[in-house]
């Protein structure tokens, strides 16, 4: 694993997507870049709540914001590949340590 800063960034990205509403917001942005107003439409949460989710996603390096005229449009962070990689890195850490535990527990039972 890389330095502690990268590790904490992993955690951020990981935690950022553990919230179902936030994951929904992220999925919508992944499908199509859009402004906060359109993101809030059709979601059962208030616009300030969406803004709060966007802040978390942005801090986690998953989404970026760009100005288009007077609109602030949210889209996947160009570094999102790295974020995805960090997510998977941590995912497999967790998965393999659980795998080891289960494999060895079964061995003892056998």
């Amino acid at each position: 694993m890389a330095n502690s800063r990268a590790a904490s960034r992993n955690l951020d990205g990981f935690a950022a997507l553990s919230d179902p509403t936030r994951r929904l917001v992220f999925e919508r942005i992944a499908r199509r870049p859009q402004p906060v107003g359109r993101l809030a439409e059709g979601l059962a949460v208030t616009r300030p709540a969406v803004s709060q989710h966007l802040k978390v996603l942005k801090d986690a390096g998953l989404v970026a914001v760009e100005a288009r005229g007077t609109l602030r449009v949210y889209r996947l962070d160009p570094k999102g590949v790295e974020a995805m990689k960090n997510y998977l890195d941590r995912f497999w850490d967790e998965a393999l340590s659980a795998f080891k535990e289960v494999a060895e527990a079964e061995e003892n039972e056998a």
Binding site: L76, L88, D93, A103
Partner: protein
């Protein structure tokens, strides 16, 4: 983009390669992290169907099934290649593919080194750029969809 390194993991398990392979595949439900799945309702179980072409999927408590990918190589007890077809939009997409290669190396009768490589991650970048490109370019697919909707509605009325 293609310079994205794969995620590489290694773990030594104190069991035979046969058992390691079996627990990894047949026993996937026993170790698969439950809280990170992509479905809309809680995860009930995860299945890797044995053999090339087998489905790798999860069943949710509401009965819906979410695909993760497929078995591409099945060579017990030494090698397993699975496709991971979850996009950055957290959706299964059969046209999107990254690979998970798992090697089981017997170090002894009860010791196996399991290495896992999740590769082709640059495709997440390509997908993101493609989505961006499609949306941004004049006459991109959004326009096509609007045109489709217009035609569809005209036909009805």
């Amino acid at each position: 983009m293609s310079s994205i390194e794969p995620v590489r993991k290694e773990v030594v398990v104190n069991v035979s390669a046969e058992r390691a392979f079996r627990v990894f595949t047949e026993g996937v439900d026993g170790w698969w992290p439950r809280k990170h799945h992509i479905g809309t309702s809680p995860l009930k179980r995860t299945i890797i169907e044995p053999g090339v072409g087998g489905r790798w999927y999860s069943v949710c408590e509401d009965g819906t099934e979410c695909d993760v990918g497929r078995v591409v190589l099945w060579e017990p007890p030494t090698k397993l290649l699975l496709s991971w077809q979850i996009t950055a939009a957290w959706q299964y997409d059969p046209s999107f593919r990254t690979d998970v290669v798992v090697d089981f190396v017997a170090l002894g009768p009860k010791s196996t080194r399991v290495t896992l490589e999740h590769r082709d991650l640059h495709r997440y970048g390509v997908a993101a750029e493609e989505i961006r490109g499609m949306v941004n370019q004049p006459g991109g697919w959004l326009l096509c969809l609007e045109e489709f909707a217009r035609v569809a509605e005209t036909e009805v009325s």
